[in-house]
Structures are given as C-alpha cells and as structure tokens.
C-alpha cells in the first residue's frame, strides 16, 4: 500500500505537483473571480454564502488532514483533535475581540463585553498581546502545539496506544470543554467569543473580506498539505508508517517511537490550530461546544470516508461529508444522524481505505481489463521523494 498510497496522493512525479498546483489555483482564483467579477444573476456566479461555506469546508479539510497525519500515518487515533482546532479558534477569537475596541455594547475600550458584564476590572494576563496580529498568529501555532507536546509526551512515553490513546484524548477535549464553559476562565463561558467587527482593519461584514478569508484558507490548506507531504515522504514518514504497523518492532530497530509520534502529533495539532483560527472569522463565533467529544469523533469519519493514510483522502472526505451534512440538515434534519451513523458503519465495514481506496480499486480493475497493461512501474520511491 505504501507506494500506491503515495502515488494516489500525487506525490511522486511532476504530474502530481501540477495537479496540486492546478487544484489550488482553481480554488484560490476561480471561485473568487466567479464571485466578484460576475453579476449575481449570471449562471456561473458563485454567491458569497457559497464562498463562505466552501471556506468552512476547507477548514474542516485542513482539520481532517491534521488528524490523518497522526491516525492514518502513525496509527494513533486522536479523538481530541477538535480541542486543537478550538484552541486555535479561541486564539484567533481573542484577537478579534481585541479588535472590537470600544465598539462593544458597553463601549469599554479596555475590556471585552463579557468581562465588563462579569464586573472584571482589568484584562487577565493571558489576554495580553492579542492586540497584535503577529503575536496571535504565533500563538495559533504555539498554544495547540504546547498542549499536544505535553499531552503527547505523557501519553507516548508511557506507551499509551490504541483505544487507550483514543479514550484519553477524548477525555482531554471533554475536560477542556468543561473548563471553557466556566466564566472564570475568562473566555466568555457558555457564549464564547463573538460579535467580531473586523480583522486586520477589514470589516468582517464586507463580501471582499469574506472572499479574502476564503483565499487565505485555500493557501493555508495548500501549505498544510505540503508540510504533511514533506513529513510523510521523509524517512520519518516511513518510520511513522512502520510505527502504525508494528510499533514495538520499530523500537528494536533503534528508532524513537515516542519522538516520531510526538513530532507528528505536535505538527498535526498546529495544523488543526491554524484550521480553527481560519474557521472562527468565517463563521463569526467560537464557543466551548467546539470542544465536544462528538465533534472530534466526526473528524475521524471525514478522514475515514476519504481514505486515511493518504493526504488527499481526508480533504476529499471532509468536503464531501460536510456537503452531505449541509444538504441533509437543510432538507431533512432528522435523517442526518441516521446517515452519519450509517456512514461510520459502512466505511469501517466495507471501505477501510475510503473513497481514495475505492478509486484505486476501480482503476486497478480497469487496468486488469486492458490486456498487456504494464504492471505497477517499479517506483523509485526513495530516490525521487527526496529530490
């Protein structure tokens, strides 16, 4: 599966690169142009709400990609990735709250509305610095990264694997959810952070800002994709795959399983954090329910539907499952949970490699049908992936 996987992900040749580039350009350029250059009545016009919806899906795609890095490639199913996403979102939310300035309901330039409401007289220390976008951008990486580092170090060092790892990551996001529900935490309690006004000086209610956020999301997803690709095609990527398949054997070869997994977990958490940070300005709110364990499990199904252990799979999965969600919740909300539930069952039973695996299967069938088709060309994997 190794080389096939990577080929499906378009990793090994110039064609793959071109495909990635074209897809990115397609999403980053064509959609905004169709939105802004064409009149609303035009058949090819993409309405702004669709652009926003796409942006949201792309954030989910980035989140699924992040999960895939630890689950699909290192075999550790985190059921707490929603926590890293939400933390990134809260960090961005704090910046956006500071941008409101004195335009809040209470007109207090020093404190966000909810703090005024709680009779706080000064800004807590951990809110310092979030007036600066640069600081915020760094924190978007650092906050989820540090949590992942500490948590992952504790977990991987004591060799917590399999369902144990899943359970304690679930407990982690559950604990954080409870914590963020508390008003005393200083993150707006139940209501979370909302009523944002502008970002980097651009009003968030303007269509151009929304399109701009969308383009930023496409670019960040591409960057995350490339980062993930760099990792999985490196020798460390092969160590991760080896860990996934036979963890203890890797140790006997002298590789640090803890180190490899920790690295993947931290990078993954950072990607999830960036996804959350891009998500919040596009949906306009972040609240503790983003930490709920159910959300985190849903990420796993996006990844599984698309095909874990591939880089393209989770992106495809997140976008298609969420498109289905939007469709069902609009048409017949009560059917959605039946659908989602069945999806979990069907994918685990019949599609262990997801949609990407399905395509691969169809392709192979096709090839077998054609006589004398050359078998898998011996991939010179190691050589070219390092080029």
């Amino acid at each position: 599966m190794g080389p096939i996987t990577r080929r499906l992900a378009g990793l090994e040749n110039r064609k793959g690169w071109t495909a990635v580039l074209l897809t990115v350009l397609g999403f980053a350029l064509v959609v905004p142009v169709l939105n802004m250059a064409l009149e609303p009545g035009h058949p090819l016009h993409v309405p702004t709400y669709v652009v926003q919806l796409l942006g949201k899906y792309l954030c989910y795609a980035m989140l699924a990609l992040a999960l895939d890095l630890v689950w699909g490639f290192a075999g550790a199913l985190s059921l707490g990735h929603g926590a890293f996403f939400a933390l990134g979102g809260y960090v961005m939310g704090m910046y956006l709250m500071r941008q409101i300035g004195d335009r809040g309901v209470y007109g207090n330039a020093e404190l966000p509305d909810f703090m005024v409401f709680l009779n706080w007289d000064s800004l807590p220390w951990y809110w310092m610095g979030f007036d600066s976008f640069a600081f915020t951008a760094v924190m978007v990486l650092i906050v989820p990264g540090v949590l992942a580092f500490v948590f992952g170090w504790l977990a991987f060092r004591s060799r917590i694997t399999g369902v144990y790892f899943s359970i304690i990551t679930q407990a982690m996001t559950y604990a954080l959810m409870l914590a963020f529900f508390r008003n005393e935490m200083g993150f707006g309690g139940n209501n979370g952070l909302t009523d944002f006004k502008d970002i980097l000086g651009f009003s968030m209610s303007r269509d151009s800002t929304k399109v701009g956020l969308y383009v930023a999301t496409v670019l960040m997803l591409a960057a995350a994709y490339l980062a993930a690709r760099f990792i999985v095609t490196s020798r460390l990527g092969r160590v991760l795959l080896a860990v996934r398949d036979a963890e203890s054997r890797v140790r006997f070869l002298g590789h640090s399983v803890t180190g490899a997994k920790l690295f993947a977990f931290v990078v993954s958490a950072m990607i999830a954090g960036v996804a959350g940070a891009l998500y919040v300005p596009q949906v306009g709110i972040i609240n503790p329910s983003e930490f709920s364990p159910a959300n985190s499990i849903e990420i796993a199904i996006w990844t599984a539907v698309g095909g874990r252990g591939t880089l393209f799979g989770p992106i495809l999965g997140a976008m298609s499952v969420n498109a289905a969600k939007s469709f069902f919740t609009g048409v017949a909300p009560e059917v959605w949970l039946f659908f989602l539930g069945s999806l979990f069952v069907v994918v685990t039973l019949f599609l262990p490699k997801g949609l990407v695996g399905l395509f691969g299967l169809l392709k192979r069938r096709q090839r077998r049908a054609m006589p004398k088709a050359s078998p898998t060309p011996a991939p010179k994997a190691t050589e070219e992936t390092h080029a």
């Binding site: 460390l236 070869l253 010179k380 994997a381």
Partner: protein
C-alpha cells in the same frame, strides 16, 4: 544488605570483564508465575551460543529482558561488561548494537523491501535527523549489497507484505545486516522453513555471525547440530545444563525434561 552489595559490585566487574552479555540472578514473574527464575549465564565476545529448552522455559522472556522490553524484578544484565541494560529502553539498547530477530517474522508489510532495509540501516536516529535524512550513495550501496545477500534484489520495490514466509525471514535477517549489530539474537530462525530454505538460511547466518556475537534460540536439533557451538539448556526459567550439544544431550536431567519422564 549493604555488605552484599559491596561484595557483589566487584564480583560483577570481574566476571563480566570479558563478556558481551552477562546475566546474573535475573528473575521475572507474571502474577506469581516465575518466567525467569534467577537466570545466570555469560556470552563471550565473538561467541555463538545456542539456547534450547522446552516450551515455557523462559527463552522469549529472556530475550525480552535483554532487549529492554521487559524489566526484570531483580538481577543484573550487563552488556559489554559494563552497560546495565535494565536501565535502557528498546531503542537505546538497539542503538548500542544489539539486534533481535523475532520468531514470527516481523517486517513492515506496508513498506517496500527497500524501505524496510532503509529503516534498519545504521545511522542517526534522532527524530529531526530522520525527518531530514537523505539517502546517501554509500547507504544506497549498502542496501543494495544487503539485497543481494538476501536474494531479494528483484523484489526491492514490492511491499514486504507480498513476500513469502521464507522471504520475510530473509528480509528480517537482511534488516539485521543493515542494522550492523555487535550482538545478535535470533529466535528460531528456521521455524516453518522448507529444507532448502533452512539450508540457505543457515548459510546466511554463518555469514552474519562471522564477526559478531550471536545467541540463537532453537528447537530444531538438526539445525543446532549444524551450528556446532556451546549449548545452554533452559528449564523453568533457569539454566539446567550447559556445554556442547553432545554433553547436554547425555545429561540425565535434560533427558528427563525433554522426555518428561
């Protein structure tokens, strides 16, 4: 018992001075069952040693202890005369130059044969070093050489999962070559092999054992005879007899254990 400790410290030093592996009084128990019961023996540098014993004699547990997988409840395990192996984990011990081949061939089935060898290849093991590692010409040559030795050159880029049982065994032996250990432990290297494969494997092992210390755990008496080296018989977690195969086969107690009189 401070006096004891004072006495023991120099004793280990002296006895372990010329050894690659030194076990003294190693005990491991699982819920009251003693898998190893005060096991003691010494392997000299460059020596090849065979360990035999009936099922449950503690052979696998012994290897688990040496490779850091299982911590002994008590006892001393020294490598190279002075390194306390009970204080290190599997990866660190592997990096000290102790290689292990499992009874059931364990290769990474989703990686290619080439990639399996690449992971085993001696070299820096730090996470970032591995992330940024590039395959150098000489490393490539080394892998190619190993591929030739284990006769898998033409299968270098197939998934290891697609190999036959015997080929997996060879791949694993090849990984040991690539790892280039100083001390090697082989758990039933010819189990489940055809006669021809057994013959080829024995050849490979002789090759690999030339300049290394080797510990072989084996059931196949014919194979043991071929190896022609000192034999240690384990029974119920401790050493029952030690010496040449002929000598231990003549030992009353060994006969009793094996024939279950």
């Amino acid at each position: 018992m401070p006096e004891n400790a004072v006495q023991q410290a120099p004793r280990h030093d002296v006895l372990a001075a010329d050894s690659i592996l030194y076990l003294d009084g190693v005990t491991v128990s699982f819920d009251g069952f003693k898998a190893l019961n005060s096991l003691s023996f010494i392997v000299r540098p460059g020596e090849m040693r065979t360990i035999i014993g009936p099922n449950g004699a503690g052979k696998t547990t012994m290897m688990d202890v040496i490779t850091g997988k299982t911590r002994p409840d008590e006892g001393t395990v020294l490598y190279d005369g002075n390194v306390d192996l009970t204080k290190h984990d599997e990866a660190a011990i592997a990096n000290m130059g102790i290689g292990r081949k499992f009874q059931k061939p364990t290769v990474f089935e989703n990686l290619t044969v080439f990639e399996n060898l690449e992971l085993a290849l001696k070299g820096p093991r730090g996470t970032f070093a591995v992330l940024l590692a590039r395959l150098m010409g000489e490393q490539r040559d080394r892998i190619d050489a190993v591929l030739g030795t284990i006769r898998l050159t033409d299968r270098a880029h197939t998934s290891a999962g697609a190999l036959s049982h015997g080929q997996k065994q060879w791949l694993e032996i090849g990984m040991l070559f690539a790892q280039d250990p100083r001390f090697l432990m082989l758990d039933e290297p010819v189990a489940g092999m055809t006669d021809a494969e057994t013959e080829q494997t024995a050849e490979l092992l002789r090759e690999i054992a030339r300049d290394r210390s080797v510990l072989v755990v084996e059931h196949d008496m014919e194979f043991v005879r071929n190896l022609d080296c000192k034999v240690t018989v384990l029974h119920e977690g401790s050493v029952l007899a030690e010496g040449s195969l002929a000598k231990v086969q003549a030992d009353e107690r060994v006969i009793e254990v094996y024939l279950g009189r």
